[in-house]
């Protein structure tokens, strides 16, 4: 090839294009790499964020502090003061009576149930426990903090919307003080509500219009198919498609009629409008009472009295206010009536919010506001103890044998292959092994930390052995040779010199293995550690559950409050893992030697 050809080969236009292409590929390739890292980071962030954002609701819990009169007639009618005979039903009655005393206008029977539901069942248990401990209090009256229900708690924290003041001018004139009343307002303050109603209807029209368009698309599609079928002369299909077009058309027309009806009603809104549960809730606070707005016209409100008014005197500007909870009643678990009661309690200063230690000290419960993680933490502790006691010594000795003593033959080879394979066996298989062998044959109790610990030990063993072997291998042969040279036996060289030097590495591996075991769920499900455990396990043969298993159980409950507690439990578990890994990193950096 001529010199000329070679140089043009690299300077021709074609070559420049080729080079540009190669560089573009280079850039694209690098971008894909960055993208991969960014996607992983985004996944981690999303995961942590969605969990962490739910935890905010768990930091505190709310109590309703009421004057409880420990009525002897209710608690202990016989007067014998046998504390163990105090019945729960008596205390339920006591608590309910206390609540009713605060809301004397609430009729009894079924209608009072929503009121009782403001409190948790734990409140009743706690009053009983308090009285059983101090029976001398019977007959006296005392301020007692009663635990609020999870729904109440969530409302107080603003998860079901908050009451906000709307500008309210002019004089308001109520007609009547209880049941259903009317209030006349001499200003345009009520236009806000009318506007809300209009907005809602407009939204409704948009929604219906979308549906109309969807039906129209169906009609278009089938008309097209009819045309196609006509050219192919498929009679049957034509008939079928025509029927389809008809159904779509009738549905479209029905929807269109609904839309035009709505439009007419919006125009007619000057007169009167009814509010339903899909619109924000409006309240009127007037003369010490509270009215829920049901019907509205520009100068008049018709509504249900949730808190009776003191009088039907006209209220001047500034003495009444219009409130709104922009979350519609159908979108929340708490009713407008309950909101009215809670707001009253709030005004009276009877709501107390304190740190939620219950979450850390209580055991699992089916009631969200009572559920805690302590039992699971204790269960995990005992399980991990067993795992550590079994897996650490066995793993380290196995590693010592394989690394220092094992001859190179088929048998040790088999052991090595085995360990590598065991590390990749699905954890649920270890659970089945535990179920069949540890519980079935060895006779270890079901649902106990002992059985769980044995299973997890078998599962972590490969991790520990592999880490320990690496640590032992990292100790240079000169250490062994020096020991042997001054007359130590092989055992002495290994146990007195190599092992202490390998220990930081072994411990690091062990902690990482334990962290894995701490987060493991599936094998524990297999051996029944998903039992509903009420008592805190105090020994490794007690029935117990573990942290990850409890997270699994809690995640099954649909309530918002439970989701929050699940997230909090996850954070607790992650904290344990972070601490364990931090210790491992510390050990590695502080004690591990580079030879």
């Amino acid at each position: 090839m001529e010199q000329q050809d070679i140089s043009t080969r690299h300077t021709s236009k074609k070559a420049k294009v080729r080079l540009a292409k190669r560089y573009a590929f280079e850039r694209r390739f690098k971008m894909f790499g960055i993208l991969a890292i960014l996607i992983s980071a985004a996944a981690l962030m999303t995961l942590v964020y969605t969990i962490a954002v739910k935890v905010a609701g768990v930091f505190t819990e709310n109590y309703i502090v009421l004057d409880v009169q420990y009525d002897e007639k209710i608690i202990d009618p016989s007067g014998e003061r046998k504390t163990e005979n105090f019945e729960l039903s008596a205390f339920r009655k006591l608590v309910r009576t206390t609540l009713r005393e605060n809301f004397s206008y609430v009729p009894g029977g079924r209608q009072a149930f929503p009121l009782y539901r403001l409190l948790s069942d734990a409140a009743i248990l706690e009053v009983r426990k308090h009285i059983q401990a101090n029976p001398e209090l019977i007959g006296s009256t005392e301020k007692f903090p009663l635990l609020a229900d999870d729904v109440t708690n969530l409302y107080l924290k603003g998860y079901y919307g908050t009451l906000e003041k709307l500008p309210s001018f002019g004089v308001a004139q109520p007609v009547g003080t209880s049941d259903t009343i009317e209030v006349f307002v001499q200003s345009n303050s009520l236009n806000v509500i009318l506007q809300a109603k209009k907005d809602f209807m407009a939204k409704e029209i948009r929604r219906l219009n979308r549906q109309v368009r969807a039906q129209q698309r169906g009609i278009d599609e089938f008309n097209k198919r009819i045309l196609a079928a006509e050219t192919d002369q498929r009679e049957q299909d034509i008939a079928k498609f025509k029927r389809e077009v008809q159904t779509y058309t009738s549905r479209r027309d029905a929807l269109q009629k609904e839309v035009s009806d709505l439009k007419l009603r919006i125009k007619a809104l000057g007169g009167e409008a009814a509010l339903n549960k899909d619109i924000a809730s409006f309240f009127l606070k007037i003369n010490g009472g509270m009215v829920k707005v049901n019907k509205i016209s520009p100068d008049r409100i018709e509504g249900v009295v949730y808190r009776p008014l003191n009088s039907d005197a006209p209220a001047q500007e500034g003495q009444w206010e219009l409130l709104v909870n922009s979350k519609p009643e159908n979108d929340r678990k708490i009713s407008d009536q309950q909101i009215a009661w809670i707001e009253k309690l709030k005004e009276q200063g009877k709501i107390k919010e304190i740190g939620n230690w219950r979450f850390l000290t209580a055991n699992f419960s089916r009631e969200a506001e009572q559920a805690g993680v302590w039992g699971a933490v204790a269960g995990s502790f005992w399980t991990m103890m067993i795992t550590l006691l079994l897996a650490f010594p066995i793993g380290v000795t196995a590693a010592i044998y394989l690394e220092e003593f094992a001859p190179k033959n088929w048998f040790t080879n088999l052991i090595e292959v085995n360990i590598n394979n065991l590390a990749a066996v699905p954890s649920i298989i270890f659970g089945l092994l535990g179920l069949a062998f540890v519980i079935g044959v060895m006779g270890v109790g079901r649902s106990t930390p002992l059985s769980g610990g044995i299973v997890l030990a078998l599962m972590t063993l490969p991790t520990i052995i592999i880490a320990a072997r690496a640590a032992i291998k990292a100790v240079p042969p000169s250490i062994r040779e020096a020991a042997l040279g001054i007359g130590a036996s092989k055992n002495q060289a290994v146990f007195h010199h190599v092992l202490p030097l390998a220990m930081p590495g072994i411990l690091t591996g062990t902690i990482i293995g334990m962290a894995q075991a701490l987060g493991e769920t599936a094998p524990l499900l297999m051996i029944g550690m998903n039992a509903f455990v009420v008592d805190t396990p105090t020994w490794f043969t007690d029935t117990a559950t573990a942290m990850p298993v409890q997270i699994f159980l809690m995640a099954d409950f649909p309530e918002t409050a439970f989701q929050m507690k699940t997230s909090a439990a996850i954070i607790v578990l992650l904290l344990f893992l972070v601490v364990m890994n931090a210790v491992a990193i510390f050990l590695r950096q502080r004690f591990e030697r580079k030879w």
């Binding site: 394979n421 699905p426 044959v441 006779g443």
Partner: protein
Amino acid sequence: MIGSVALTLLALTIASYFFARTRAVQSVGGKTGHLHSRPTYHGLYTFLWTGLISFGFLIVVNIASGLYIDYNIRTSLPEDIQGLPKIQQEQIVDQAKSIAKNKPVVGVAATDRAREVRDALAEQYATLSQVRYIGIAIIALLAFGFTFWVTYSQIDKDWRARNRSERLILYILLLCAVIAIMTTVGIVFALMGPTLKFFFDVSVLKFLFGTHWSPLSGVFEGKVDENTVGAIPLFAGTFMIAFIAMFVAVPIGLMAAIYLSDYAGSKIRSSAKPLLEILAGIPTVVYGFFAALTVAPFIRDHGDSWLYFLLFFFGPMLGIFLFRSVLRTFGLHSLSELFETIHLMKIASVASLAAYFALWFGYYEEVPSFGLSIASESALAAGVVMGIMIIPFISSLSDDIINAVPQSLRDGSYGVGATKAETITKVILPAALPGIVSAILLGFSRAVGETMIVVMAAGQGANLTWNPLEAMTTVTVQIVALITGDTEADTAAGPAFALGFTLFAITLAMNVIALRIVQKYRQKYD
């Protein structure tokens, strides 16, 4: 009971160490220099033997007597009870055991006769247990006493306690190493028992190739109907979810590994590596919670419109790419080049995005979508989250493999003028291919065996479909459902263990293949 015996034995063995050491010192009148082995070795020797023998007896006798009592109780059932179905017999035995152990009784006795037998059994069981515990305690203590007497009386100034205990320690080390093998053997046997029992009732072919899975619907007298245990829908679901997971994890994990090993500076590496390690350290139950409460509802609500968008976004690129590949395979390079020079890819992408927004604002007047219905427990959601879980697994394995390719190969490639990307795709990846394939296989095996994500986010009902937007169930989900369900443990164990055995076989095969690939095709450098 057993616990206190074990604690006593532990205390005794520790005491025996001190006794033996003292005796060794005394045997030479305090002049320890005359001993062949130092006193601690004498103590150690006694300690090891007494501990091994007494705890060995404790465990063996405990297990054996437990099995014997079980057998005894079952054979001593009166004849009329033995005529009853197996389930009822089991129930009576279980209740009797609970009564004898003072535990809450599950369920009630079916008949008066059953209650009578049950209470008698409970009494018999309680007596037997009493005898058993006393027997175990006596045997274990006797074993301890005998061993202690033998080893203690051997102590002498010429007794080679160090050599002997070192030999003994070696055997103990070997024993611990063998536990790994015993675990595998244990797994095989533990799974084999119930599986074989299950396959006495059900043909293996119907289990492996049947398409109808509802094992507990056809149960009659503790036996499952073999027409309702076809596991194909479960395998389909398992592999569907695992494939989706690999579809997410392999490109991201591999690209992350490549970027970290060949592109990233030490600063980025030191912050990106821990990020992947954190991803690897998060417990699977947390991923399950994330999948069930965040990803699955998101995909149910917005997956449709996202698919629509992605189709418009990537569709033209993919189409043109394929078109050009076809042109090139037919040797029409110049035509392919032509498409490239007029920037068809960019034009098409812009056009399709424009079309997307035109559809959005012109035709639909809302975010456009196909109108697909997506299950709230779709295979897609579980698969995507599982993929995220496996990213660090793939990336750390590939990272090791890519780093193991010697620098000389890179230098050679750079030397002939290749860019970094060309070096990676044309030199390093081919060299690392066996390792990467094995990493992918290991990741896939992990995806197949993963339990918590699918238990929390995938479906429960067997559903044989190709559509990843529908709910599908997996092998592991069904194992958990069977074992933790309310059905009789004996009935549910059959299908559950058969599934477990299949799962074990599949994952084991994949792991072995992965290891073989690495061993067989590994490039030997140096």
